[in-house]
């Protein structure tokens, strides 16, 4: 993983042009490693008649690497690790059937740490001030290997935490959401001097802000406070609000300016840290490449067109995550007002939201039994 490690040590995290050649070498290195060490991955490439040395010659060929849908990873566990893996992380599906389980090794952790360090530095997330954390998510426990929990917890280390309060507690074997507790803490902390950082699902944060507004609660959080969002909107697509409305609400209820609202994006199957810029756009860092594909033919689409999001990164050698097809729709843009030259990703939403249970579908489920 010579080239890959090198890539993850680079400082200029959004300068694709500068590191294009290195990125390509890292991808090829990753493909060859996975092909050699993961029999299932070898079969996938062979079935598609993809020969790495023959077909992967330049950066333009990256789109030809057979991708693996996250759906496939939910049905099949793919790993290069022969014995017990260092850590195994699952995606945040609701049942064991729709979760992917991904193994990670030490090499991955080092690269991820290097990436996080640089990204946090670039986005000025590090602070030495003691900070109070309010986490609108799960309290970590041994039984919850979901990545969002780990990410939320990890995010509380950007500044030294002197307290951590969770919205979702693990009580008697089940999760309980307690927004009231967070509300009371916010009111209390607003009177203090230490900055507050909230971290959690956008939907929960929105519900909390809305509830506070409805109850006429308005506070001004201490200087340096931040609202951090991550984990996507999940099952709350219907409630998905305009980002502008969200920022206005945060300013009104907590006195936090949108410059202090930061959103993260990532996935277990593509563990790259995307952080929004001051224009609230997710720029693609040098560690990855995004291809938007036609919803039917899967051919790459040009910038500005909506399609399926294909995420590419060499970060993992423990699992074939080099080219992953998500079940999200998105669109790529460039020329962001923030000044970064590279592309940024706009996520439109999950495919198949209209997934209603129809009468025909019901019969089918029974026929299968």
């Amino acid at each position: 993983m010579l080239y890959t490690n090198k890539l993850f040590r680079k400082r200029d995290i959004y300068n694709h042009l500068k590191y294009e050649a290195l990125f390509f070498k890292a991808i090829k290195e990753n493909c060859l490693y996975l092909y050699k060490h993961c029999a299932e991955y070898k079969k996938i490439l062979d079935d598609k008649y993809f020969n790495i040395n023959r077909d992967l010659k330049s950066v333009d060929d990256i789109s030809k690497i057979p991708f693996i849908p996250t759906l496939y990873l939910k049905r099949h566990k793919l790993t290069t690790i022969k014995h017990k893996s260092l850590i195994t992380v699952t995606s945040s599906g609701t049942s064991s059937r729709n979760k992917s389980e991904i193994d990670f090794n030490l090499g991955f952790l080092l690269r991820a740490w290097n990436m996080t360090r640089r990204v946090a530095k670039y986005h000025k997330l590090w602070s030495i001030k003691p900070t109070r954390y309010l986490i609108l998510g799960y309290k970590p426990n041994k039984k919850n290997p979901a990545a969002v929990t780990k990410t939320a917890f990890a995010a509380t280390f950007f500044a030294p935490g002197i307290s951590r309060t969770y919205a979702i507690d693990y009580v008697n074997g089940e999760y309980k959401v307690d927004l009231d507790k967070l509300k009371n803490k916010l009111v209390k902390f607003a009177k203090g001097r230490l900055p507050v950082r909230t971290m959690g699902f956008p939907a929960y944060t929105y519900f909390l802000l809305k509830q506070m507004k409805d109850e006429g609660i308005k506070v001004k959080l201490p200087k340096g406070s931040k609202i951090m969002l991550g984990g996507g909107w999940k099952q709350f697509y219907a409630e998905k609000v305009d980002k502008e409305e969200f920022y206005k609400l945060a300013e009104e209820v907590l006195g936090v300016n949108d410059k202090n609202i930061v959103e993260f994006f990532g996935a277990v199957e593509h563990p790259i840290l995307y952080t929004d810029c001051r224009e609230h756009h997710f720029h693609v860092p040098i560690y990855s490449k995004i291809i938007i594909r036609d919803v039917s033919t899967l051919e790459p689409l040009e910038e500005g067109k909506i399609g399926l999001i294909n995420l590419i990164t060499p970060i993992a050698s423990s699992s074939p995550l080099v080219s992953i097809m998500t079940d999200d729709l998105g669109v790529l843009h460039s020329s962001c007002k923030c000044g970064e030259k590279g592309q940024y990703l706009e996520i439109i939403g999950r495919v198949g939201i209209k997934d209603i249970v129809t009468c025909a579908q019901g019969a089918e489920e029974m026929l299968k039994q």
Partner: protein
């Protein structure tokens, strides 16, 4: 929410109201049976209001959610007009439903309602619970409705409107929002009912068989699957109409075609047919309402994964539509939203469909005139309940429901000797 004799109550009153329900119902049964014309008039008045766009604020969002086009909705709404319901009544119970001829012995015959009907509604179509009650009313029954979980409130709204039009109906309509987990309450309601009408999947049907007393009749409206059957010489025009049906319904209805069985044993012929139909589907899809980007994306991912798992899969996919040739001959659901499977099923194997029993519903038959009769008969013998042209979701006044007449299911004939 609870609807009890035209009044809306909070769920907290549930036990109190249920405990006096049987007594109240018996008082109603003492009266002369409900005249179907009273129900028809109330529905007709409501139907006219719907045509007058009085309920558009409720209806339009529903159509959007369920991907139902406005013309299709208007077509179905016609069934609730006076003409529609009278036709239904006469077809299902016979022209002479009100004055059945006497038996040779001089014995008089008369239709009576079963008495008390308990409707256990499904949540997949919002207006269905109220529709089920209307059918029960047409046969003259007292109706108890258990709302599906997540009911939007439309059932109580609709039925309250109906009572407003004909206040006498208030004694015949009772709605409770009992969760499916409250088995004891459900059993209480089932115990006082002559018939239990169950909508939903096999799970709902199975649990009804468990909670129903042995002396209550169970009427099941379960899930169904529909498909097309085509001979190799099916005409271009028919295939175009089938494609258009698939695009219009997005295959979400029980009567929507999920895939096509082709009358051949030969794999290359079936594949050729798949190619042919795919080209037609692409063309037809482009000319009509645009496909849903998200659903097409979802299908593409599913199909891509299927192909990873079985690299020999024959798959055609572009422009938001997909056709896949499968080697087996099993009836199954497609991914819907313009995804169609093609399978071989030579005519001498049509009877193998029999194993699907009551899951079978409509078949769109595409063949030349000379084959139509023999294929129709074979399909009927296998167990389907409707053989249609390319559009299997067409709505005809008086058509049966999954091969049965609900009003007959909800009625009994009483004989009075001279």
């Amino acid at each position: 929410m609870i609807l009890f004799q035209g009044q809306v109550y909070k769920d907290s009153k549930q036990d109190e109201l249920i405990s006096k329900l049987y007594e109240t119902a018996l008082l109603t049964l003492k009266n002369k049976p409900l005249d179907p014309l009273t129900v028809i008039n109330a529905c007709d008045k409501l139907y006219k209001k719907v045509m007058n766009h009085d309920f558009d604020d409720i209806i339009l969002p529903l159509l959007e959610t369920f991907d139902i086009s406005y013309p299709y909705f208007l077509d179905s709404a016609k069934n609730f007009s006076k003409e529609g319901l009278l036709t239904k009544l006469k077809i299902e119970l016979g022209e002479d439903y009100a004055s059945l001829s006497k038996l040779k012995s001089g014995t008089k015959r008369q239709y009576y309602p079963l008495g008390i009907l308990f409707h256990v509604a499904a949540g997949n179509v919002d207006a269905l619970p109220a529709y089920s009650v209307i059918e029960g009313l047409l046969a003259g029954n007292i109706n108890i409705l258990k709302l599906p979980s997540g009911d939007s409130g439309i059932s109580i709204k609709l039925l309250s409107e109906l009572i407003k039009e004909e206040p006498i109906l208030k004694d015949y309509i009772y709605v409770f929002d009992v969760p499916s987990t409250e088995i004891e309450t459900i059993k209480r309601l089932a115990n006082i009912s002559n018939g239990i009408v169950v909508w939903g999947g096999d799970f709902a049907l199975k649990s009804a068989r468990e909670f129903a007393p042995i002396n209550s009749k169970i009427i099941c409206w379960g899930h169904k699957l529909s498909f097309a059957y085509a001979s190799l010489d099916a005409s271009e025009k028919e295939l175009e109409e089938l494609a258009s049906h698939i695009c219009q319904t997005n295959q979400v209805l029980c009567s929507s075609v999920q895939g096509i069985f082709v009358d051949t044993e030969k794999e290359d012929e079936a594949k050729k047919f798949a190619d042919r139909f795919f080209n037609i589907l692409v063309k037809v899809s482009k000319s009509g309402a645009k496909y849903d980007l998200g659903m097409a994306g979802k299908n593409t991912i599913n199909l891509y994964v299927d192909k990873m798992e079985d690299p020999s899969l024959y798959l055609l996919n572009s422009d938001g539509v997909s056709v896949v040739y499968k080697k087996d001959s099993k009836l199954e659901l497609s991914y819907m939203f313009r995804n169609v499977w093609i399978k071989r099923l030579p005519r001498d194997k049509i009877l193998t469909l029999h194993k699907n029993k009551s899951y079978l519903q409509s078949v769109a038959l595409l063949c030349t005139d000379k084959d139509r009769e023999i294929l129709s008969t074979l399909l009927a013998q296998a167990g389907v309940t409707r053989v249609s042209g390319p559009n299997s979701s067409r709505l005809f006044l008086g058509e049966s429901h999954d091969g049965l007449y609900p009003l007959r299911e909800y009625s009994r004939v009483v004989e009075f000797d001279k």
